[in-house]
């Protein structure tokens, strides 16, 4: 599937799966999108790892600084989805 055809739901799924890889104690289905990653218990190194894995999986070339002030997981999904197009 071309990256430009990725739906927002698909990006949301990738985000949840990636969070679960870095924070294995959190089932993807229980993640509340209104929360910030730190609210899930992700420390700063975990957050770096999650962002790097997402940029890699979604083939997005974006400075990390562009993502530093996103206030929630939903905002992260929206940001990444917009960059997929």
């Amino acid at each position: 599937m071309p990256i430009s055809d990725v739906s927002r739901d698909a990006v949301d799924l990738v985000v949840r799966e990636t969070i679960a890889v870095v924070l294995p104690s959190i089932p993807p289905g229980t993640i509340d999108g209104s929360k910030h990653l730190r609210d899930l218990g992700a420390d700063s190194v975990d957050r770096v790892e999650i962002i790097l894995m997402l940029l890699d999986r979604l083939h997005i070339d974006e400075p990390m600084s562009s993502l530093s002030q996103l206030t929630s997981i939903d905002a992260l999904v929206t940001f990444l989805h917009e960059r997929c197009h």
Binding site: D43, S44, V45, V48, E49, M64, S65, S68, Q69
Partner: protein, 414 residues
């Protein structure tokens, strides 16, 4: 420039206080989540005592270097630059006091540089360029990165990882510690408010903004280096890597990011590479905390003392300062680096610090937070800390702050 001229770091020393507290003790005292200790990779943090300030830290780091020079060599120190984000006056530099207590030549330029944790590298590079220019053959430039910590519980997980102290770097045409690859550098800077010291009593920091800016700068400073140095390969050009160390876990994350992007290898290989090329530089930093612009030079000292190279090894160095500015550069260490650094006994200095309890630490915070506050007159009761001062036998004399009179800081040797 003389084509055969070598320029770099002739001597290097650090001073990281007389006291330390285990990182675990701050976690326990503040009720922080101990599961986060693993990612920090930090074990102790240096603490200053109330008679220590940016001037004493700087002098106590540089004194052994200056004392090892003969009088003629000492007089060739033509520029003294203190790099600090812990200024003690809007006008008067830390360097002006340091110049006096090191007994440097009155024909020496005396200035202070500020760009958070990057400024010392900017000063080292300008010093190297001055030496390499040949306008004053044989000249030396003394750069001292010196800072104090002002953090407390308001900065959460940053509190356990902030260090204090100074790193002194003597740049000359006799590079015994590190021969700088002249012209091999890459820089990357942009404006951001990731961390700052808006007031002489506290720091502010946005952790994500700062870490992400650090990682962006690491990538782009390296790319700028690669543009200048044909054939550079992140995975194979450098025998070792030395990076600014806010905490060791960030250096590990940065190395992992770079290896993914530029080496395309798997997790196991990245871990092996980290252990081989990066971990030796973190031994000291993980026991000191963030030494601000001295951190990358503390890491260089850690690398040399840990690896003790017996042949030439190329080192890639990355310096980052909030705000932000960064640089990736390189140089060569060898068996002479091992010998030249051994005399400073940095490992013994760190091991000899007194371990404080969390209650001791809390008692110190109020005094330490007043360290940079302008006061017309005050006295410092050095004797209160004699048990720590006297703990080490055969301790060398150290400079201590004893008073402030009409805004003029007064020091004595103890």
């Amino acid at each position: 420039m003389d084509a055969g001229l070598q320029v770099g770091i002739e001597a290097l020393n650090v001073y990281c206080g007389l006291a330390q507290i285990p990182v675990e003790a701050i976690f326990a005292g503040r009720g922080l989540n101990e599961e986060r200790l693993a990612n920090l990779m930090m074990y102790e943090r240096s603490l200053n005592l109330p008679f220590e300030d940016p001037v004493t830290n700087a002098v106590n780091a540089a004194k052994p270097i200056v004392d090892a020079l003969d009088p003629a060599e000492k007089d060739r120190i033509e520029i003294l630059i203190t790099s600090t984000e812990s200024g003690i006056d809007y006008s008067k530099s830390v360097a002006s006091y340091v110049h006096d207590f090191l007994g440097l030549n009155r024909q020496c330029r005396v200035i202070e540089a500020k760009q958070a944790c990057y400024a010392a590298t900017g000063a080292v590079q300008m010093g190297a360029a001055y030496v390499a220019s040949g306008i004053s053959p044989g000249a030396k430039v003394l750069v001292i990165a010196t800072d104090v910590s002002l953090v407390d519980e308001r900065v959460d997980y940053t509190e356990p990882v902030m260090g204090a102290g100074a790193a002194a770097v003597l740049v000359s045409d006799r590079p015994r510690i590190l021969t700088i690859d002249l012209g091999a550098f890459g820089t990357h800077s942009f404006e951001t408010l990731d961390s700052a010291r808006p007031d002489p009593t506290f720091d502010i920091a946005d952790v994500d903004v700062s870490l992400f800016a650090y990682l962006d700068c690491l990538k782009h400073a390296f790319l700028a280096y690669r543009d200048r140095v044909e054939g550079t390969d992140f995975a194979s050009t450098f025998d070792f890597l030395v990076m600014h160390t806010p905490f060791a876990g960030l250096v590990k994350a940065g190395h992992r990011k770079m290896m993914r992007e530029f080496a395309g290898v798997g997790v196991a290989e990245i871990e092996q590479d980290f252990t081989r090329r990066v971990l030796p530089s973190l031994a000291y930093g993980s026991k000191v905390g963030n030494l601000c612009s001295g951190a990358v030079y503390l890491a260089l000292a850690s690398l040399i003392d840990t690896v003790q190279p017996d042949t030439g090894c190329r080192v890639g160095l990355f310096s980052y300062g909030s705000g932000c500015s960064s640089e990736f550069f390189s140089g060569v260490i060898d068996q002479e680096s091992t010998a030249a650094l051994a005399g400073m006994q940095i490992g013994q200095h760190l091991a000899g610090r007194s371990a404080l309890t969390f209650d001791d630490y809390k008692g110190l915070l109020k005094d330490n937070h007043g360290c940079l506050v302008p006061q017309k007159d005050r006295d410092v009761e050095i004797g209160r800390w004699s048990s720590i001062l006297d703990r080490r036998t055969n301790r060398r004399s150290l400079l201590a702050l004893k008073a402030v009179r009409n805004y003029h800081r007064k020091y004595e040797w103890v």
